[in-house]
């Protein structure tokens, strides 16, 4: 049918140009939806701010976060020390600023690690079903059956100490959660006619999974991933508390919570402010995630 002369002579160039412009505008329209979503923009601003603090924190710190003055230990917030002092007389604000870099890294890398591997195995299990599904998911069940912190500790003893290894261990133990969510979501759309249609026209399996199935099941995955950032930060704290992962005196939000929890009743600000830092970070990722989900959905786009 491509040999139909009448249609080949259609005046096309202008039209194609218009089409190209429209394709470009698809990204623009996504951006407009995101921009119109105030909550998502708040999230984006906070994340930008956090990244800025992570990179240029050294310039913003009012005090050295590692030099304490024991005489000022547990001092309440004041004009000089806005967020108060911790048990060793170190400025909490400076420590929170210094910890931003580590906490963000832990949260983002651990989730990215778990998300990508979990998505990979989850989609393979759901798509091919049968024995493949059985083997992958039973292995995931084994991982889930062991308390995740215990498993992470086991990994740490095998890998050795250090923040990088803690990130890998935490990422690894959360793989099954993502695999399960991805698998369940894929099962719900796998039999749809548009997936069948994609098979009939000769698509490769990987294209069907990544182009046709995954974009249609993004919502639960995005929500889980944004929440996963907070649990990754807290798990790192737990590992640090056990002497694995982030070691004292290094400032990290989770370990600040851990080491300050004994002073909760007489100096609540020691745990309050690092806790707020974690909450704000998680909230920001969550808001942005929700906004992204809406912006990626053509039904909600103008």
């Amino acid at each position: 049918m491509e040999n139909n002369p009448e249609i080949n002579n259609l005046h096309l160039p202008d039209e194609i140009e218009v089409e190209l412009e429209q394709a470009e505008s698809r990204f623009k329209s996504m951006w407009y939806v995101l921009k119109a979503n105030k909550a998502a923009m708040v999230g984006l601003v906070i994340i930008t701010l956090l990244l800025f603090i992570a990179f240029f924190g050294k310039l913003l710190m009012p005090y050295n976060p590692y030099v304490g003055d024991l005489s000022k230990s547990l001092q309440a917030p004041s004009a000089a020390h806005l967020l108060g002092m911790d048990e060793q007389g170190r400025d909490i604000l400076s420590r929170i600023i210094d910890g931003t870099k580590v906490s963000l890294r832990v949260g983002i890398i651990a989730v990215a690690f778990a998300l990508s591997i979990g998505t990979f195995f989850g989609s393979i299990a759901a798509y091919y079903s049968g024995k493949v599904d059985m083997i992958i998911m039973r292995f995931m069940d084994i991982l889930l059956a062991i308390p995740s912190l215990l498993l992470a500790i086991a990994f740490m003893t095998a890998l050795g100490r250090g923040i990088d290894k803690a990130i890998i261990a935490i990422g690894f133990v959360t793989i099954p959660e993502y695999a399960r969510i991805v698998r369940a979501s894929i099962l719900s759309v796998k039999e749809s006619e548009f997936v069948q249609a994609a098979k009939v026209i000769g698509n490769r399996d990987s294209v069907i999974i990544f182009k046709h199935i995954l974009p249609n099941v993004l919502s639960p995955i995005i929500v889980r991933a944004t929440l996963g950032i907070s649990s990754a930060i807290l798990d790192t704290a737990a590992l640090g508390f056990l002497g694995l992962g982030v070691q004292p005196p290094y400032a990290e939000w989770g370990s600040m919570l851990g080491s300050g929890r004994g002073y909760f009743f007489n100096a609540p600000y020691i745990v309050l402010f690092p806790g707020i830092a974690i909450t704000i970070t998680v909230l920001a990722f969550n808001l942005l995630g929700d906004g992204l989900r809406d912006a990626l959905d053509p039904k909600l786009r103008k």
């Binding site: 049918m1 491509e2 139909n4 249609i7 080949n8 259609l10 096309l12 039209e15 194609i16 089409e19 429209q22 394709a23 698809r26 749809s192 006619e193 548009f194 069948q196 249609a197 994609a198 098979k199 009939v200 026209i201 000769g202 698509n203 046709h212 974009p215 249609n216 990626l296 959905d297 053509p298 039904k299």
Partner: protein, 321 residues
Amino acid sequence: MSEVLLEVKNLKKYFTSKTGFFGQPLEHVKAVDDVSFNIYKGETLGLVGESGCGKTTIGRMLVNLLHPTSGDIFFEGTHISELKKNDHKKFCRSIQIIFQDPYASLNPRMTIGDIIAEPIKINKLAKGEELEKMVLQLLDYVGLASYHRNRYPHEFSGGQRQRVGIARALAVHPELIVCDEPVSALDVSIQSQVLNLLKDLQDEFHLTYLFIAHGLNVIKHISDRVGVMYLGKLMEVADSDKLYADPKHPYTQALLSAIPIPDPMKKKERILLSGDVPSPINPPSGCRFHTRCIKCMEICKRQEPQLKEVEENHKVACHLY
């Protein structure tokens, strides 16, 4: 009659409905049980039957979405399992499908243009500017405008979406298109538009259709020959005119008597079928229809009738003939 395009021989598809502890199959749903038919080049073969009689399963097997339990499919004389890898790809391209539900058959995240361009890209039929041209051509063929191509499926009505589905099937120059109840999800006024579009396209591109439907009037409108299915079996195959004028099988007679006549004064004797369709897990012995047949004989309960030619181009599976 012209050349045979597709030949189906003793096609069976059993789905396992119950498995034992070690995964061994215990019970089968006999969705398609020993069906044979030919499709000739350029014709439209209609396939009618109640829900669950296996007509959609046959369509899915032809486009390779399901693998037959047993039986042979010959395409242009070649057994499809004997095709080499390259030929196999070409064969897959040659048979396309239009789905029943236009709301479910288009990826909601892709634009209409991308949906139509995808099969062309995958099969490397064109790229760049040529691809753009082909997409615009296809949109034109199915009666959509070029500005529609940057829109998403949810912006269209059911009839328009079905047109997109048709354009996608046409994109790879197929020879046979399986139309799996393509109009049953549409309004009556839109149904005729889509049916006429299918007819026009058939004339223009010399397409062959396997048209699956449960609406007898739709089938009559579009088919050259009609096959009537019941519980996974083909009961009667005949030229469309013959079948509607002189149905042989009691099941076909009952189906045709159920078509309403648009004339309130005209009285028509209706054959009312009693009972439900038996379960395809455990179909009745002998003729599958004997539990509901008004002309049931003793032999029908014991012996399964074979599909045999009783008149020229008129095959029936019934002990009456």
